[in-house]
């Protein structure tokens, strides 16, 4: 009896052991997926209790923000199958049928004194779980900023990366005045092109705006004295100071990631060369020394490399040189070999890619070079694109392009799938620069 007992235990144990791997044997390996935008439904926020409508529709702004990032495919409003305003009214099964991975619902409330409050919730539809829920108070003239903040929160929650919707862009516009003279403006706007603020205007050309790492200053080239000079200007106070006015070119200034140096093109030696400039001491360090043209420097995010454009190989191509602080260490190496023309190299925030203007058969387009693989991907399909600038989260690139004989701003998602024109600005818009994350 005892033996039989033991036997049954042993057999049972064996059975268990044998059946366990059988269960675990059903394993499926998924090595591929689709690359694409995440479906999200953003239900218009309930504003039925508001006495007067807000100047902008929050959920519209959020929908547009998320859509143009390329990471999301918001459901068109007319396709929404239900319009719940809080979690208890959500029927996940309905949204699952539509394959919506995420759902945003919310409502607005008047706080009085032209102040409002928005409450919103973000849901994982397939899990049937709330991922985020916030309540934000705002003033009537802060509707857009509030919407961008919400977009940032959703973006960060769903992609794991910081949203860049609350950042800004700087750009130059040239406006033809009635007297046929030209007026140049340095402006700042929200990343979606709204809320334009002119921070400098000039009868002479303005060029190459670049943000300080803290987002509080801009460096640019101005011809206001008749010849190029480099200036730094406080964004909010408008206070500015001249940095360089060397003979010849004073071009393409760009801040080092630590904020201590500027890299720029100077031709004081007779030939355009890349230099670094110590903002505290004013000391210059020449980085390139070549009879060809070396210009358009740009720092890697860790400050240890400098990419620049050079025609030393015959045609403009991108080169890279290692840096030790303000000084080069080693010789420049050519980076680009594809295409007849590659210029205006700029590092992605993670330092793994370079965006550039890529010229091929007379067309200049925005392309991205994967540094590790040396894989070049052309993102745009226009004729004359220039000045690419990464969003601080690396998700998008803003650039200038030509539309109906005028410069306009456009944005493309880094995967090249989502293109958007920012056609709010008047005149000929050029040289956009995307701000870093706000430190506020």
């Amino acid at each position: 009896m005892k033996l039989r007992h033991l036997l049954s235990i042993v057999c049972g144990g064996l059975w268990l052991i044998m059946s366990l791997p059988l269960q675990a044997a059903l394993t499926i390996q998924i090595t591929e997926g689709v690359v694409g935008a995440m479906p999200i439904a953003i239900v218009p926020f309930d504003n039925s209790t508001l006495k007067s409508p807000l100047p902008y529709n929050l959920s519209d702004i959020i929908t547009t923000d998320l859509g143009r990032s390329g990471r999301f495919a918001p459901m068109p409003e007319q396709d929404l199958i239900a319009r719940p305003h809080d979690g208890s009214a959500v029927r996940f099964a309905d949204w699952r049928l539509l394959n919506m991975e995420s759902l945003v619902v919310g409502r607005l409330r008047e706080l009085g004194g032209a102040r409002y409050e928005v409450q919103f919730q973000l849901f994982d539809v397939f899990k049937g779980e709330q991922l985020a829920g916030y309540s934000i108070a705002f003033a009537a003239d802060d509707v857009r900023r509030t919407a961008h903040r919400i977009s940032d929160l959703i973006y960060e929650k769903l992609t794991g990366q910081r949203g860049a919707f609350s950042t800004r862009i700087a750009y130059i516009t040239a406006i033809k005045a009635a007297d046929k003279s030209r007026e140049y403006r340095l402006s700042i706007a929200d990343a979606d092109g709204f809320n334009e603020q002119v921070i400098l205007d000039s009868k002479q050309p303005l060029m190459s705006p670049s943000w300080s790492p803290d987002g509080e200053k801009l460096v640019y080239v101005t011809f206001e004295s008749g010849r190029p000079e480099i200036f730094v200007q406080e964004v909010f106070s408008g206070e500015r100071r001249r940095i360089t006015d060397f003979p010849g070119l004073n071009n393409a200034p760009v801040w080092s990631p630590d904020g201590r140096y500027l890299a720029m093109t100077l031709s004081k030696t007779g030939n355009p060369e890349v230099h670094t400039y110590n903002l505290q001491t004013g000391a210059l360090s020449q980085v390139t020394r070549h009879p060809g043209i070396d210009t358009e420097p740009n720092w890697s995010p860790d400050g240890r490399k400098l990419v620049f454009t050079s025609d030393r190989g015959g045609r403009p191509q991108l080169y890279m040189v290692n840096m030790s602080g303000a000084n080069k260490s080693g010789q420049p190496q050519r980076l680009t070999f594809e295409g007849e023309y590659n210029s205006r190299g700029t590092f992605s925030p993670d330092g793994q890619r370079l965006a550039m203007v890529h010229g091929q058969q007379g067309a200049f387009r925005i392309a991205v070079l994967e540094l590790a693989s040396r894989n070049l991907q052309v993102l745009t399909d226009s004729r004359l694109d220039e000045s690419p600038s990464f969003a601080p989260n690396g998700s998008m690139i803003i650039y200038a392009t030509e539309s109906q004989n005028r410069g306009v701003l456009a944005a493309v998602s880094v995967d090249g799938r989502v293109h958007q024109r920012l056609e709010l600005q008047q005149g000929d818009v050029r040289e956009p620069a995307w701000s870093p994350f706000s430190t506020q």
Binding site: L26, I28, Q29, I30, E32, G33, V34, N99, S395
Partner: protein, 308 residues
């Protein structure tokens, strides 16, 4: 001899008794002579004592009275003795007469006894002859009996042998029957075993075939599921390379996903969520049509290992 005595016991006893009585009478006759009375002559001695005259007189009277009574009794007694003497004489005469008669009787008796003895002798002889005859008969009978017993024994022996033979025969028959039965049972058992083995083999083959079919179904299903999940997996952009995540997915009949457990996280929440969403979005997962086979796919581990 005893037989003779026993047969004539009464006359013998009577004879003996008569003899005894007569013999006794010889002596008793002497004893019966009467004895002289001595008491009569003895004077009564009176003791002179000063007593009352009346009393003396009364006493004297009483004594006189007692004397008279005594004399009367004596006279009666003598009379009686005389009487007895006469009776005795008479009786003796009778006795003598009886004796003579007895003598006569005895002679007769002796004669008769002789006759009797002769007869007895005769009887005895007859009896002996009879006895002899009887013994012979007895002997014959014994012989017969012996013979009968021998015969009986023989018959018994034969019967026993017969019985034994019969028993043996029965036992053999029984044995044969049992053997036949055993053989039949054995044959049946073998047949059963063969059939069972065949059935088991058929079952095994069937099971194997079913198993192969089931495995085929499962493999097909797994491939379909893989395709479907791949189609639904939105690889998150901008996450670090080399992430991998394994989830255990619980499936109910019909293919709906009821539970997704991350058993090996990638460490990246977005990547993990994309994996979980992919599996949930792919639901219902294509399971085999056979519920029994589908039941073996209640739990599937998905390893998400993006290449490059």
């Amino acid at each position: 001899m005893f037989r003779v005595i026993r047969n004539n016991l009464v006359p013998i006893l009577i004879a003996l008794a008569v003899h005894a009585v007569l013999f006794l009478m010889l002596f008793i006759g002497f004893d019966w002579t009467p004895k002289p009375a001595t008491l009569q002559n003895q004077p009564n001695v009176v003791k002179a004592t000063a007593v009352d005259a009346g009393k003396v007189k009364a006493e004297l009277d009483r004594l006189k009275q007692a004397e008279r009574q005594k004399q009367q009794q004596e006279a009666a007694r003598i009379d009686k003795l005389k009487q007895q003497e006469r009776e005795m004489q008479q009786r003796r005469a009778a006795e003598e007469k009886n004796l003579a008669e007895l003598k006569k009787k005895r002679a007769a008796e002796e004669r008769r006894q002789q006759q009797e003895q002769q007869r007895l002798q005769k009887i005895k002889e007859e009896k002996a002859a009879l006895e002899q005859k009887r013994l012979a008969e007895q002997k014959l009978l014994a012989e017969l009996e012996r013979k009968r017993k021998v015969e009986q024994a023989e018959a018994k022996k034969i019967a026993e042998a017969k019985k034994a033979a019969e028993a043996k025969k029965a036992a053999e028959a029984k044995k044969a029957e049992e053997e036949a039965r055993r053989k039949a049972a054995e044959a049946k058992r073998r047949e059963d075993e063969r059939r069972q083995a065949l059935m088991a083999q058929l079952d095994a083959e069937e099971t194997e075939r079913a198993e192969a079919a089931a495995q085929g179904e499962i493999d097909k299903s797994l491939a379909l599921i893989r395709q479907k999940v791949t189609r639904h997996w939105l690889k998150p952009a901008g996450v670090p390379k080399g992430l991998a995540c394994t989830v255990r997915v619980h499936i109910i009949p019909g293919g709906d996903v009821v539970g997704v457990t991350i058993i090996k996280s990638s460490g990246n929440a977005v990547f993990d969520r994309s994996v979980e969403s992919a599996v949930r979005k792919a639901a219902p997962l294509p399971l085999p049509a056979d519920p029994a086979v589908a039941a073996r796919m209640r739990e599937i581990d998905f390893e998400f290992i993006p290449e490059a």
